[in-house]
Subunit: 294 residues, 3 copies
């Protein structure tokens, strides 16, 4: 199924409008091109909604938030919602300042967000309406590990249910849930945190996957998380003796450029947990990696 979703991205080549930070914007654009989508960036309120109107998806990222772009985000988001286009929100650094936390909450309130893609500290901040994050990285005490994955999944599921969004929380273990069904994903490599913007790239990628697979947004979001993590693994395997985080940055994007639906199908490592009675994943722990047909 995930393979098919990548196939759809390459087939439909969705145009994705990004209002994003200037730190990682170039990588986001190249990642979108790598997966088969097309990027456009426009953050002046004068044109934001008009640009959204010609796009198939919208990616909002508050990484270098400023007052000028907030109205552009709102205008673009409203247009996307009106037109039934998916909106991804990346609440970069929510919790690091009141400005970021409040803006992220405002965007959640004013817009019908499709997917929120962040780290666990950011999601906790949004869940509580406040919080403490260590800059743009998750606090160590928050991290999702094998020890706390059940509790974390229950928490994220509840956040998704109450917020009416798909939550995609990434870290050592990734959780993607719509509040009912939860994907617990174990793709990725720790070296991804040594490159600025792998999270931002994933958010852009998620917008492309959801835009090209509008009828199955949860699965599309989960597929994008698996795809990004898998590219992190493939890129790592390519590392040579003198390579560091800068070469690795290239390798991860290169891997997405080369990734085939079949490779994604085989390389995706996830469990699916469904339950209507608060028991999350308990009956799936230890289950072998799912295999699926494209």
């Amino acid at each position: 199924m995930f393979g098919k979703m990548l196939f759809h991205v390459r087939q439909k080549s969705p145009l994705i409008h990004n209002i994003t930070n200037y730190v990682t914007v170039n990588d986001c654009a190249n990642m979108l091109l790598a997966c088969g989508a097309s990027p456009i960036m426009a953050d002046d309120v004068e044109e934001a909604a008009e640009i959204t109107a010609i796009c198939q998806g919208l990616n909002l990222n508050i990484g270098t938030l400023n007052h000028n772009t907030i109205p552009a985000m709102i205008a673009a988001g409203r247009r996307a919602v009106e037109m039934g286009r998916p909106v991804v929100l990346d609440p970069v650094g929510a919790g690091a300042s009141a400005f970021r936390t409040e803006t992220a909450l405002q965007l959640m309130k004013e817009l019908r967000i499709t997917v929120i893609r962040g780290n666990i500290s950011e999601i906790k901040t949004l869940a509580k309406g406040s919080g403490v994050t260590r800059g743009v990285d998750a606090a160590k005490t928050d991290m999702v590990t094998e020890e706390n994955v059940k509790e974390a999944a229950a928490f994220v599921k509840e956040f998704a249910r109450q917020s009416g969004v798909i939550a995609a929380v990434t870290g050592e273990i990734d959780l993607v849930t719509d509040g009912e069904k939860t994907y617990v994903i174990r793709n990725g490599h720790s070296m991804m945190s040594s490159v600025t913007g792998t999270g931002c790239q994933l958010s852009a990628l998620t917008a492309a996957f959801v835009a090209a697979n509008q009828s199955t947004p949860l699965e599309a979001a989960a597929a994008s998380v698996c795809a990004m993590g898998l590219c992190g693994e493939i890129g790592y395997n390519r590392m040579k003796a003198l390579d560091g985080n800068s070469s690795y940055r290239n390798y991860v994007i290169d891997a997405m450029y080369r990734l085939t639906p079949e490779e994604l199908r085989r390389g995706a490592k996830y469990e699916v947990c469904e339950s209507g009675h608060g028991v999350v994943c308990s009956d799936r722990q230890g289950v072998d990696r799912k295999t699926e047909s494209v």
Copy 2:
């Protein structure tokens, strides 16, 4: 001749003022350094004209246009014109929003632009004062191919003549014309469209070539288009099994860093078409690639 133009860039090392988008700005700076020029970026109206005054050329790019930078573009452009310095305009996404179309038209009206470098959809938008573009890429129906190259060349030539600019329209086939003489260029590689900003880089490069070859701006613009395309070819030839668009991005810039005047002389693939009576290129179709001496 084109070889000599690259030689002049490396010899004079023109300082180029760029008011450009934040998506591809780093690549523009490294491309300018690769060709032997020097970049400076400054987009606050307070200093824009003053910075232009110490530069040999100005590159205006509306890729992430915002209200603050328009007055800076106007001020910088006026100073460049006053000082007799070349101005390149890259109308990124003209046609994608009224804001971009109108700003590009305003810049053409208020400034004596030397070269407009864009894709065919953007140029059609500017020619008609309106248009439809698919984001920042040319619409498929617009693309210049062997089938429609005569009509496209006639159209671009007329646009250049009426606008009083050199038009450099790039795509599968590139057209560079001042309304009298037209260069039809067949350098480049399709993979260049998988990297964000190869067009932006070319616009910066064109500013450097024209700044270093002020007495022959048409030839300088054509030389820069050939040089960029040739680097796209050289970079592609370097691709290894696991490489994707991110490594390719590096290879294209690397190729410019290494490109010699002699290699450009030998690798440039173009026809020159001159006619005063509306017959464009008809007597040149099928002509062998020109060779020239440095």
Copy 3:
């Protein structure tokens, strides 16, 4: 000693707040990650001070200065000073416009800057309150060479003493001084000037080194200059036949990612000059490279 300073950066992983230009910001972030620090970028006045408050160091860079970010720089700088956190200023292009020169001087006046990291032309501009720079590169007539190193060191030392800052002036020969003690550093490679932003990256790195070694800011700044230069050398040694400035950019950051304290200890090339009577370095010329233990 320098080895230990890198060790502290990796051990403490200081979070560095950067208000910097959009040309080289991505490289600054990846360089900070490469050395073991963490980057955060935030330039809206609404959150600037609050972000600084969660950070261990602040890096101010005026490379694409605009009116909106000046108040953010002031607010962030004041908070850093209040909290006893180091502030690095990179006066990119001071002298290229009155706006940059005056802003740099204003920042020096209003904030207790810890380190000013720039090229010799920028420092001369700040020393005189005016000056001429060729864009963002040092003027050739200003460059510090073996011929004028004594005079240059005396000048920079006096600038540091009068300004009450540590001055880190980089070029062919680097000078790092607090007005009393001067490090004359001969690491680095001329190819570093073919990559945009190696100076910006160094300023970010210096903020990380000083933040992780607060009791010895002069030595920390000197260590960061040696480390950056050494990575420039290591990266150059890795260049292959087709590589140019874009691959080199990756190699320099990769080298920092791989650099060990022991390698820095062995690879740092510097002299230390101390004197209270205006004789700078005269008794050290020709002294062998110092070796030191971590």
